[in-house]
Amino acid sequence: MIIKINTPIAQHIINDLNSGDYVELTGTIYTARDQAHKKLTDAILANKSLPVPVNSVLYYAGPSPARPGEVIGSCGPTTSARMDQFTPLLVENGFKVCIGKGLRNKNVLKAIKKNKGLYLSAFGGCGALYHNKILKAECIAYKDLLSEAIFKLYVENFPAVVAIDSKGNDIFTKEPL
């Protein structure tokens, strides 16, 4: 069964989702990968304003360029583990739903459980498939980073699997916290 959800995701819906659920997202999400995470972290630590609204869903992705007439190029998830060092602070500061691929460390798991957040694993290596799910794309910050900039995306029926749920269950490790 596929659970359809809209972003931003209401807290009661987050609470009801379980590790292993297949979901499809519709709504606005924001791309942010390595360098954007570093910049967002620096901005939080320096008490500066952020280019992304708090409570937004962050998607670890760096798209390939759009062909003329297209919204975006290929846009699948990148490896989440590289974001682990930044994620707990972002979760604490309102970015408690994130999408990437693969394993997270214990600190991320703890932060998500404590803040009742969510980590979704998208289908790694399936950039063409996600191209079809993105209806709007706009670069809103850090343009000089090219594909690593922050893009505001409007997605429809964007497929992913709940990897870490708000109770702290992890589909990959299956180890209790």
Binding site: Y22, Q35, A61, G62, P63, S64, P65, A66, R67, E70, G73, S74, C75, G76, T78, T79, S80, A81, K101, G102, L103, S121, F123, G124, G125, C126, G127, A128, L129, H131, N132, L145, L146, S147, E148, P159, V161, I171, F172
Partner: protein
């Protein structure tokens, strides 16, 4: 001697780079279609179907199979009877990578310095490996190597007295650690012997081999098959979500070895391993 102009080389490399990064290899597509029939786990079946849907979309819409269109690795085998005209061979290949990346709308994934990290905005330089062979042709093999899987490769300098099981244990440890992060099912290249760098080169080059073709040496073909069986028992499954398909294939390339060592390099290729070879 046969003259080959750098202008021709740039054009051919440009086409090669463009096509390689966009599509799934036909042998891997066939493998997925067969695997989905054999797969018993419902979730693994569903996840495999996503990979096929992705490959079909890439073809239909000419959009890269994976957004990480990779570091461009070119293996260039030059026949000793070839004479390159009209300038630098190296510059011509780099220009081909630049042009192919632009024309194919590939991602600009290369930064010019590992510390300063400013994007070159051209997807160059690529990494070019040259070798001189007999004949009057040039063979270009391209690997568009994404870094989700490249990051998970490892090398171990084993003792010369290491057993087959020691080799297996190391390779399986690397495959297990690559886990869900490196986009399984994997296509694994293993380099055995030589020096540390030679083993790594062999492991990378092994990714060019087609699915189902085994090492000519019987004991190495056996080792490939045994590692494949054990890797598929790790329950990594497509996309790391479980199932008995963790690896598409295992390829070993070997070289002579020093009496004091046994280098083993493992290069992880993701399900989007993209390679192509042309001869001019």
């Amino acid at each position: 001697m046969r003259n080959i102009s750098t202008t021709v080389i740039t054009e051919k490399v440009s086409d090669l780079v463009k096509v390689t990064a966009l599509y799934l290899r036909p042998d891997i597509m066939d493998f997925f279609k067969n695997a989905i029939i054999k797969e018993k786990d419902e979730n693994a079946k569903k996840n495999l179907l996503k990979l096929i849907e992705n490959a079909v979309t890439a073809q239909d819409k000419k959009v890269p199979y994976c957004q990480d269109t990779g570091f461009e690795i070119i293996f260039c085998e030059i026949g000793q009877e070839v004479h390159i005209t009209d300038g630098s061979l190296d510059a011509a290949i780099q220009e081909g990578i630049k042009k192919g990346s632009k024309d194919g709308f590939l991602r600009q994934s290369i930064v010019e310095d590992p510390i300063i990290r400013k994007n070159t905005a051209t997807n160059t330089p690529g990494i070019i490996n040259y070798s001189i062979v007999e004949g009057d042709k040039i063979k270009f093999s391209c690997i568009a190597k994404g870094f989700g899987c490249e990051n998970k490769g490892q090398v171990s300098m084993l003792n010369p007295t290491a057993s087959i099981n020691d080799i297996k244990d190391f390779v399986l440890k690397v495959i297990k650690e690559a886990g869900p992060n490196a986009c399984p099912p994997f296509f694994i290249g293993i380099g055995l012997g030589g020096t540390m760098d030679k083993a790594c080169e062999l492991a990378k080059k092994a990714l060019l081999e087609p699915v189902g073709k085994h090492n000519k040496k019987k004991h190495l073909a056996t080792l490939e098959k045994e590692i494949l069986t054990e890797a598929n028992n790790l329950n990594t499954g497509p996309l790391g979500l479980g199932g008995n398909l963790s690896c598409i294939d295992i390829k070993i390339k070997e070289y002579a070895c020093h009496i004091a060592g046994l280098p083993v390099a493992v290069n992880i290729g993701c399900h989007a391993v993209r390679t192509k070879t042309i001869v001019i």
